[in-house]
Symmetry: C2
Subunit: 383 residues, 2 copies
């Protein structure tokens, strides 16, 4: 076990701090942001100063080392180490109200400012080192999907197939944990949907729903048997190193309705069109409009991004968390930046058949999007 708190090089930390560009003294405690700034999760705070400095107030674990590592027992201990400040930057989008008030009082500030959006914006453009992590994820993620037909046995339910994919993913090094931004988003390892369960609405803001196995976590596989003429949409966890790729492929059991095959082709077409169009500077709302337009021209708009319920986006940033910036949605105000990593997932729900469409993760380059989840895109037969 490496005892150095900082698992990133000094240069890499500097690059990330420059992207954050803190303008007030800031205390970071969200696990995803701590991992971004240090390369590890610990219990405590990364303290950013407005001049680009960073120090670490650590509660646990007990043996971390480094020049700027200060052990504390409680937030109130921080005050002794930082200059008095009127304003403190905190992650007000994720930090609990009580914790925010306690930190504010601990440092004697009279005002708190939100740095959640600043952190999300910083993380939305990946460094070369981050992109390398995600490329490595993409290779493993694609390799696992290639083995899925070999995991299927006739008579299996959606959840039985999912369990075998979970096991294979874990044996290939998947960490399992699925970091999501937002307090009430929950999912276990991924989503496998067959037949009309793809049309069951869920409370969560994922692209697809599913009734789930229990009302305590109502999303995903519901125990439905995988039958002839139905699709199986597989959207499983791609976290192998703290970063994750997002990837969906569709499998089938026997012949499908032609409209399902057509919609799947339309999804592939949308991915290609968006990958070409999304050069730096492109407004992400126009990417959504393009996707919707292609679906509409194909006469498929009523199935686009759901049937009984329609998700309001066609893609999203991905990295340490599965739902990062930018979002490809009608009212989004962002533009594509070089270094964004984006999942594009034009999906369709065809009543009586199930979900079709693909999802790939792409790196935004000068010439457009470069796919890092390369595997066959057509509907793959399970039998």
């Amino acid at each position: 076990m490496n005892k150095r708190l900082l698992l990133l090089s000094a240069d890499e930390v500097r690059r990330r701090l420059l992207r954050v560009g803190a303008v007030v003294p800031t205390l970071i405690s969200d696990n995803a942001n701590l991992f971004y700034l240090t390369g590890r999760v610990f219990s405590g705070y990364a303290c950013l100063s407005a001049n680009g400095g960073i120090r670490f107030f650590v509660k646990r674990p007990s043996m971390l080392e480094g020049d700027d590592v200060i052990y504390i027992r409680k937030p109130e201990d921080i005050a002794a180490y930082i200059p008095p400040t009127d304003v403190i930057g905190l992650e007000l989008g994720s930090l609990a109200y009580n914790d925010a008030m306690r930190l504010k009082a601990a440092v004697g500030a009279s005002e708190v400012v939100d740095v959640s959006v600043r952190m999300m914006a910083a993380r939305s453009v990946k460094t070369a080192e981050e992109i390398a992590c995600m490329e490595s994820d993409g290779l493993k993620h694609a390799e696992i999907y290639r083995h899925i037909p070999g995991l299927f046995n006739e008579g299996m339910t959606d959840v039985e197939l999912q369990i075998e994919i979970e096991r294979l993913s874990r044996l290939h090094g998947c960490l399992g944990l699925f970091r999501v931004n937002g307090p009430s988003m929950e999912l276990y390892m991924g989503n496998v949907l067959t037949g009309d369960n793809a049309d069951a609405p869920s409370p969560y803001d994922f692209a697809m729903g599913g009734a789930g196995m229990h009302p305590s976590i109502p999303v995903g596989a519901c125990g439905e048997q995988i039958r002839a003429g139905k699709t199986v949409m597989v959207d499983m966890n791609g976290n192998f190193n703290g970063y994750m790729t997002d990837m969906t492929r569709v499998y089938s059991c026997g012949k499908l309705e032609s409209i399902a095959v057509k919609a799947h082709q339309c999804s592939i077409e949308i991915c290609r069109a968006l990958a070409d169009m999304a050069v730096p500077g492109t407004e992400t709302r126009l990417l959504y409009e393009k996707a919707y337009g292609i679906a509409e021209n194909a006469g498929l708009s009523e199935y686009f991004m759901g049937h009984r319920y329609h998700a309001g986006f066609v893609g999203h940033g991905v990295g340490i968390q599965v739902n990062e910036l930018p979002v490809l949605a009608p009212r989004s105000r962002s533009v594509i930046e070089e270094g964004n990593v984006i999942a594009i997932e034009p999906k369709f729900v065809i009543p009586g058949t199930g979900a079709v469409g693909i999802e790939n993760t792409y790196v935004a380059c000068k010439s457009g999007l470069r796919c890092i989840t390369n595997a066959p895109e057509e509907i793959i037969s399970l039998i």
Copy 2:
């Protein structure tokens, strides 16, 4: 899929609301608390009035039905449906600062009061219906542990064994999701520790640590091969219905040092002593003291609840989340109440051998604690 929002009987809801005893108008949005009050997770708010009433403001999913179900698009829509109020109760221990401020403004309140502790206190005493869910968990949990020796092959690593237990658990209906109270507590499906990895400190506030497979989630199995003379401590997810039991057993590969066997026996002895002692009204700090005292008398205090790092508790409430009230810790001010469900986990870390000790989940009854995770408690040979 049942479209009724309320999946609990009216009587059961009344019992739970009585336990909560809201004294100001309150908006609940934490998934664990929504599940407690309704029997399902949805996106939106349960609105409690000070006279014991409950209504539901729902964003998603789209088809829920019931007398008191009101669909909203955003929190600001709530104001039209509730009387003006100066004070609003919110879950300030888990609700993000920004979300709390938005809700406060949405209902025009001038003051927010925290109901997190009230909700935790309510949930700490289970109803008969909740206890039945947990008894059902305990049967399944124990059944899975009985099959663990059959999953082991010589040469396996800790994580390889864990993956086979994950699969078996899931095939037995485990939902996988591990609900934890606290923003920065993370764990995937459970913890399997072999040898000295049990002594690696983690940033998380679990009883045991482990280095984990990656610094982005530094807890648990680390890829270490399971070797002769080492223990394997298994502490896996027991969530089969939104409630979970907590259960640990120890397995071994060949002969162990006698101090490890002695410490394991001491753990069993502590569990029995605490189960007898913990009649309603017993101070939970005295239960911790009793446990520590038994360990100390056996000359094992330096290994009690860890070796390089010592966890500061010997047990905790468990239910919808794995870390509920009461906590059995030196400074705890709670007393045992009939209907508490408590995990007791006196564990020892023996350098060179690994972790030993058991964990059971108990229901607090008039005469003491009744175990609901019944399975052999001795160290079980894997070979």
